[in-house]
């Protein structure tokens, strides 16, 4: 492994300055469960890892009436161990509680899961269906990017040299909102999704005002499917949900690899889209 410096940044400005100084040879570092593995495997050749866990903004975890602010360095367990947050965001708990095992969840978080930009990242689709906005800081100040536009390829994102994710801004669910994430894995825990789907719905009575469906591990990035749009204005019926699930399945562009074949993944996306839409509708009805 190439020897690198460890920079414990105390502010966003300090972190950005350290990242900018080293360009592509520096990376932000939070949970370390991807960064240290990449560095050790020689996939990243680094001169510095910039620890962003000691910055107030990256640790923010604040549930407001209109917005939930989730800092980039917040580990998974803080989402599901908070009674308030887990009650408001069961769809995020679905993801945060299956990213690795307990050891990983002590350190890894939804922010790092997003930045790692794996097509199979369990947290990314859940963030997308919650209409998450990503706040990024860099040498030229802050900018915001929609979570569905964040990943640009396997392991690649809109984060440029000198930039870092600061926080995720997630709309606080209104009455009638529900979301869910499910994946298919041979093992229940500590596994990587063969395919995964997150869905969300906003209900008014039994009418779907809006919906989002996002697909994991079936393309070079997580995919925001048009299946959600197809449900807008329709009743939350089994037939309508099945039709939307078919659309999700048709929009999957999987490859065959050691985890599964393209055919299996296409099928799984349909099943998971139906199940997560049904679960999201159930949760939306409970949240009324």
């Amino acid at each position: 492994m190439h020897p690198f410096e460890y920079v414990r940044a105390k502010s966003v400005d300090e972190a950005v300055a350290a990242l900018a100084k080293h360009g592509e040879r520096a990376r932000p570092f939070a949970g370390g469960t991807d960064a240290l593995v990449m560095a050790r495997a020689g996939r990243w050749e680094l001169d510095a890892l910039v620890d962003i866990k000691h910055i107030p903004e990256t640790n923010i975890l604040e549930l407001g009436s209109s917005e939930f602010r989730h800092g980039a360095a917040v580990p998974c367990y803080k989402v599901y161990e908070s009674p308030e947050i887990s009650a408001a965001f069961p769809g995020l708990v679905d993801s945060a509680s299956i990213i690795g095992g307990i050891q990983i969840q002590s350190r890894a978080g939804l922010g790092g899961n997003l930045c790692n930009a794996s097509p199979s990242g369990d947290g990314i689709c859940a963030l997308i269906v919650h209409n998450t906005t990503c706040v990024i800081a860099g040498p030229n100040g802050k900018r915001e990017v929609a979570s569905e536009d964040f990943c640009t390829g396997p392991g690649r994102s809109v984060i440029g040299n000198g930039e870092m994710l600061v926080e995720l801004k997630i709309p606080t669910p209104k009455k009638g909102f529900g979301a869910a994430y499910q994946r298919f894995t041979p093992r229940n825990e500590m596994d990587i999704a063969v395919a995964g789907v997150a869905s969300s719905v906003q209900l008014d009575g039994n009418t779907i005002v809006s919906a989002r469906v996002a697909l994991a591990a079936v393309g070079p990035t997580p995919i925001l499917s048009t299946a959600g749009d197809s449900l807008a204005g329709k009743e939350a019926t089994a037939d309508n949900i099945s039709a939307a699930a078919q659309i999700a399945s048709s929009e999957a562009t999987p490859i065959s690899d050691m985890r599964g074949t393209a055919e299996q993944r296409t099928h799984l996306v349909g099943v998971l889209a139906r199940r997560t839409l049904e679960r999201a509708v159930e949760r939306a009805r409970e949240n009324n």
Binding site: G31, T33, L49, G101, Q103, S106, N188, E189, M190
Partner: protein
């Protein structure tokens, strides 16, 4: 040339003050710098849990933590699990239930199980299996490990 950094932490209840290269994992720091070889290296990429230690009250894979990161923190390893010459109830139960064969995964399982019982003294079998999913064992088939943890939970 990357310079070593100074780290001051609490390790198994004792203050430690040492220098470590900033790119060295906590696992290698414990084993090579501090001479605590009870924590084992398995996969070295955050999958197997053999290197599990307790960092500020949470279990972590020490291969995915930098030694430099623990400055100001509290770390507990298998060496601090029981008083010298004694066994922790979990260690005793692992022996009685034959919950180990080669032993490489054992320190990690013990550290994880201790954290579980501190959080929840009476976990169900499902809770135990779920909590220990981040610890892999290639010898026992897990049943004996789960039984050993249940034995301690039942007697608490």
């Amino acid at each position: 040339m990357v310079e070593k950094v100074r780290v001051r932490a609490t390790l198994n209840g004792e203050p430690v003050d040492f220098l470590v290269a900033p790119y060295v994992s906590l696992l290698d720091t414990l084993r090579d710098e501090l001479g605590l070889t009870g924590t084992k290296e398995g996969c070295n990429d955050g999958n197997c849990g053999a290197c599990t230690v307790n960092l500020d009250g949470r279990i972590v894979d020490s291969c995915c933590v930098l030694g430099a990161e623990i400055d100001g923190s509290t770390v507990e390893t298998i060496e601090g699990m029981a008083e010298p010459g004694q066994l922790h109830p979990l260690q005793q139960a692992f022996l009685e239930e034959a919950a180990l064969q080669c032993g490489i995964c054992t320190p990690g399982f013990l550290i994880s199980a201790k954290a579980l019982l501190e959080k929840d003294p009476h976990p169900s079998e499902h809770d135990i299996r779920f909590w220990l999913a981040g610890n892999l064992c290639r010898c026992t088939g897990y049943d004996k490990i789960v039984k050993a943890v249940q034995k301690v939970a039942d007697s608490a």
